[in-house]
């Protein structure tokens, strides 16, 4: 934030002289913890772990269906209905301490995950892990079709370092050694500085030094972005145009593509009259996603979900069933009213009465501090009033809210779904009967709305274990149909993997035209972006 100090001087003056990139995240003071496995580490929180530890395969987070880019593995092959994986490891890759990376290291990286549940974040059911020559073979106890990207993007750690650690789950790894192009130069709670290695198995990136600064909150981060002291970040900026873009319209850019995860209004499907799909569909028809996008999400943060299947586009374009290809969400109050009258609801003046004659009311709830969700709820509340549903927004206590959602004690709430390489994760999270628990019982890890559809459960099962793509497509189409017809949740927005960045000093960022990866600095693809950056004015 200051105009002096060596933080800025190197980047000031002619933009072509830039050697440093300032990356920011609004995550508060950090502690010196470079353990890449731990989400609580500074490396994960700020995203620099990806500059040190590299994946086997680089997969474009916004295009999960595209084949990945070979990275530390040059080849990979799935067998036996995705229960067996053979990897060919790249030669000539060296760790930052000069030791070569071998198949042993790769196998060890998997072993670690197998051995420690705490490190196996995706709960992959590892079977055997064998390394021979430059090959690593893995087996799994179940089909890993839905997890294939998660396995391929596993990062590799050096065995010679990690095998000496007493407890890898509780080590802060003060001296991280990886294959990536950067090493940690200095750490302070505010800023971690990474510096470029002399050698790297690919062309060395142009950025000599990365500075990851952790700001205490969104406000501080936004201010830093606006005044240029932070050049790349992922943060929610209200009124982004005025606050950020207009400060330097030429250089202040943002790109927030969707990934395959969504946000929506979860409805407790066990509560009358919301157990009636017609009511849920009608509600869906009046919700104004433009307002939510523009007012709640500041016009950029969580992109609109356009498809009525709830699958975010363009990331999920290829999954959308043919019959829903062009069906998009649109506000249709009359349609909603028709839907309701058909189902026996009556709109009396301003009040909607359910078939039994009771007025329809609903409490929308989210934690008080989640301002975007609360804003969304305010908008939804307004929207629902157009069909006579009296909604109240309850700003709950965060902990209580979690508990209530978990136990199904709510009418409706804005909540997210899981995300993944395919829309499977979304649907599984919403409708899986296998994780269905009665209202009042907690510990569910999805299906908060207690949506009970054996058909959906079956389709999900089929998809996960199918032997061929056709079965999978059919299963997914069934799920889409259920989603559209039953609306267990009303999708409003897609999850994002975006970023705000400045082209003042560096160019080559991903954007609408060049969608080589999501623009979020804490994603694995950040390494790709860094490798792609060039000093501004050098072209």
């Amino acid at each position: 934030a200051c105009s002096n100090g060596d933080g800025k001087t190197e980047n000031s003056g002619s933009s072509s002289g830039a050697t440093v990139l300032n990356i920011g995240m609004p995550n508060g003071p950090q502690t010196e913890n470079h353990n890449p496995f731990l989400g609580s580490s500074a490396g994960a929180s700020l995203g620099y772990r990806w500059m040190i530890f590299e994946p086997l395969v680089m997969i474009n987070g916004i295009k999960p269906t595209e084949p990945g880019k070979p990275w530390l593995a040059t080849e990979w092959k799935w067998d036996a209905n995705y229960t067996k994986l053979s990897l060919t490891i790249r030669d000539g890759v060296k760790f930052s301490d000069g030791q070569p990376m071998t198949a042993d290291d790769v196998a060890y990286s998997f072993e670690l995950r197998k051995k420690y549940d705490g490190l196996n974040q995706d709960a992959i059911p590892y079977g055997t892990i064998t390394a021979s020559g430059n090959k690593v073979d893995l087996t799994f106890t179940r089909s890993q079709f839905t997890n294939q990207n998660k396995i391929l993007t596993v990062f590799v750690v050096p065995k010679h370092q990690w095998s000496t650690l007493k407890d890898p789950t509780q080590d802060t790894l003060k001296n991280p050694i990886g294959t990536g192009p950067y090493t940690v130069k200095s750490f302070t709670p505010q800023t971690t500085t990474l510096t470029l290695r002399d050698s790297y198995w690919q062309d060395l990136p142009k950025v000599k030094e990365l500075r990851y600064t952790s700001y205490n909150d969104n406000n501080a981060q936004t201010t830093a972005l606006a005044n240029g002291s932070s050049e790349w970040s992922f943060v929610f900026v209200p009124n982004v145009k005025a606050v950020y873009q207009d400060k330097d319209p030429k250089n202040h850019k943002l790109w927030f593509p969707a990934n395959l995860g969504i946000h929506g209004l979860w409805i407790n499907t066990t509560k009358k009259p919301f157990d009636n799909p017609a009511l849920r569909r009608a509600m869906n028809l009046v919700i104004n996603r433009d307002d939510i996008f523009n007012q709640g999400e500041a016009g950029y943060f969580y992109p609109k979900v356009e498809s009525i299947t709830g699958i975010p586009t363009p990331a999920g374009d290829s999954f959308i069933a043919p019959e829903y290809k062009d069906k998009k969400h649109a506000v249709d109050v009359d349609g909603a009213k028709k839907e309701l009258t058909d189902a026996g609801f009556k709109l009396e003046g301003d009040v909607l009465k359910d078939p039994t004659g009771k007025p329809v009311t609903i409490t929308l709830t989210d934690p008080a501090g989640w301002s975007d969700y609360i804003t969304d709820l305010e908008i939804i509340k307004d929207n629902l009033s157009t069909i006579g549903i009296k909604a109240t927004v309850d700003k709950a206590n965060q902990d209580a809210w979690f508990k209530n959602i978990d136990e199904g004690n709510f009418d409706a709430a804005m909540h997210w779904t899981n995300g993944g390489a395919t829309p499977f994760d979304i649907y599984q999270n919403i409708m899986d009967g296998k994780i269905l628990k009665p209202v009042g019982k907690g510990g569910v890890s999805g299906n908060y709305g207690r949506f009970n559809s054996p058909e959906a459960t079956k389709a999900l099962d089929q998809y996960a274990n199918a032997a061929d793509d056709a079965t999978r497509t059919t299963a997914l189409n069934t799920l889409q149909k259920i989603m559209v017809e039953q609306m267990p949740i009303i999708p409003t927005s897609a999850s994002n993997v975006g970023g705000l960045y400045s082209t003042k000093n560096w160019v080559g960022w991903p954007d609408e035209q060049n969608q080589y990866g999501p623009a979020q600095p804490t994603q694995q693809n950040a390494l790709q972006i860094i490798l792609n950056l060039k000093p501004a004015g050098s072209q």
Binding site: P238, N239, G369, S371, D382, N397
Partner: protein, 347 residues
């Protein structure tokens, strides 16, 4: 947060002063409190806020939560204090929000005061083990920083309304008052009039309620006002940092929204300023009342109206300790002087 805690201990080491001005009936003396300009100003402002708290929701031009198409508009005839990112009317929010603030402030003040009386006065009066136990309790509560404690407690309560917040604040902020009251009770307990009442045969509870309590009124009142300040500040802070679960509007909620929407960065000062000023004015009003009480209790604190004195030869001298101003050093005697008779002159 820095609600000025009452300074009454410092002010009255010896309890209620022997009235400086005998002859003025006690009732009139009580009214004199209102005649104190500071207290009067404070009371008027407080009354104004109380009025708004009562009628605010009725006179609010809009529903404070209702959205409109005027997003982030600066103040105008239509929206006196401008609008929010959802087009809500900030003026209405401030008006409607007053009730929550006043309710929580007063209720928390009441709860804390009641607790501090209960604990402080009993500790001071009973003495012995009861005193040790109770004062240890209040010491512990004093040592635990109040705001973090309130934050933690507030976040444990599921869906707390104003009532809950008020109770939480009340239950965590009585310790200071209890300590002051204990000290005061200790000094009152050994007063002759308490002993005398005991010697007359009064029972213990009558001693506490009728002999000791009336003499604590000023301290209790000032403790109450102090806690109200603290409660208002705490409540607003809780809402501001998004911890409290208040679903209704209050000034803190307005500020929370302003802050989470980065109103200042957006240039929407109108979103931020009115609520903050309202808090400051309310806080000042309460502090003024407290000054009034302090001065009422300890007349020495009153700055006398005439601090400058004009001497005969036109100089103006300040009244101060140690150097008494001399108005005129050659004043003629006001009493008649018996003129000397001529014969005495001779004699």
């Amino acid at each position: 947060m820095s609600a000025p805690t009452s300074t009454i201990t410092a002010v009255t080491p010896e309890g209620p002063e022997v009235p400086s001005n005998p002859g003025v009936p006690a009732k009139r003396r009580r009214l004199r409190f209102i005649a104190n300009p500071k207290a009067a100003t404070g009371l008027v402002v407080l009354a104004f806020f109380c009025l708004i708290a009562i009628i605010g929701p009725w006179i609010a031009p809009y529903d404070p939560s209702a959205r409109s198409s005027d997003l982030i508009q600066p103040p105008s005839g239509k929206h006196w204090f401008g609008t929010t990112h959802l087009g809500q009317d900030i003026f209405s929010q401030v008006l409607v929000g007053t009730r929550g603030v006043m309710f929580v402030g007063l209720l928390a003040g009441l709860v804390a005061t009641a607790l501090s009386i209960l604990i402080g006065v009993s500790a001071g009066f009973l003495g012995g083990a009861a005193d040790d136990g109770l004062s240890a309790l209040s010491n512990v509560f004093l040592v635990i920083p109040a705001l973090p404690l309130i934050i933690i407690v507030a976040s444990t309560i599921p869906s707390a309304g104003d009532l809950m917040v008020a109770l939480v604040i009340g239950f965590t902020s009585w310790a200071w008052g209890a300590r002051v009251l204990r000290a005061q009770t200790l000094s009152l307990r050994r007063r002759d009039y308490v002993e005398a009442a005991r010697a007359t045969g009064e029972s213990t509870w009558r001693l506490i309620t009728f002999e000791i309590m009336p003499n604590l009124t000023a301290i209790i009142a000032s403790g109450f006002v102090g806690t109200v300040i603290f409660a208002v500040m705490s409540e607003i802070t809780l809402a501001f940092i998004g911890i409290s679960t208040i679903s209704d509007w209050n000034w803190g909620t307005i500020l929370f929204w302003a802050q989470s929407q980065q109103a200042l960065a957006q240039g929407a000062w109108w979103w931020f300023v009115p609520a903050g000023l309202a808090i400051a004015v309310l806080g000042t009003a309460l502090s003024l009342i407290n000054f009034g009480i302090d001065e009422f209790v300890s007349p020495r604190l009153r700055s006398s109206g005439h601090t400058k004195v004009k001497t005969k030869d036109g100089h103006s001298v300040r009244m101060r300790v140690g150097f008494t101003p001399v108005l005129s050093s050659s004043r003629e005697p006001v009493t008649p002087v018996v003129r000397r008779r001529a014969e005495e002159e001779v004699a």
